[in-house]
Symmetry: none
Subunit: 111 residues, 2 copies
Amino acid sequence: MSSSFVILAEPSRRAILRLLASSERSVSDLEQQLRLPQPSVSKHLRILREAGFVQARVDAQRRLYRLRPEPLMEVDAWLAPFRRFWTPHLDALERHLDRVDSKSRRRRKQR
Amino acid sequence: MSSSFVILAEPSRRAILRLLASSERSVSDLEQQLRLPQPSVSKHLRILREAGFVQARVDAQRRLYRLRPEPLMEVDAWLAPFRRFWTPHLDALERHLDRVDSKSRRRRKQR
DNA sequence: CAGGTATATACTAATCTGGGTATATATAAG
DNA sequence: CTTATATATACCCAGATTAGTATATACCTG
């Protein structure tokens, strides 16, 4: 199980994810959009699937792939400690997120 | 010139960046923190430097490395089209904050 | 069942990468 | 100038990865 960053290191895989960001797509659809040989697309999709980036559902002979956000969320979270380098007033932002979070906590039932 | 994602695919390099997120550090400092052989550290630093992730300044025999945010900002920007998957409405926002925030809370308490 | 379409997998060769070791360079200190 | 310290580079090797090609599997249609 490679890290999400290893998965994203491959340009074709990032391209696949970008396409899936807008909508669910079949293998042949991706193949045409990216002008990649079909086995390449299938191999990248397998890697993306095993890493949890995408999910397939069966539609007759086709497999329709759609995005799963979890691994990208982890990448997003990894970036968090670095955002203070390009986001002004991090303290204010943190206070803001804490407020939003505590509000939603209050609104929900206790965990 | 490899993409920023290729640079970040290497765990030791991500560890170096995390350490540099808190402060400037010398090579031997990184070497001890990460328990890596010195040539490994220097090699990774070279790759990080050439990709613009870090910058060195000379201090006697030592080289002090510090973070440069630009490449990480690009990664952050690449994630933008995907954020709607975990921040479209409040419920998803809550789930995201629950995961990310519990980590940062722990980190904050330790100080 | 036969033929066609869609997708997955197996296999190979070429390339790339990181670890390990040895060595080179730079600066300081005596 | 000599030695010590800090860092960088050169070189080789073993493992991993990708593209390319061929082939297998799954499902539909007639």
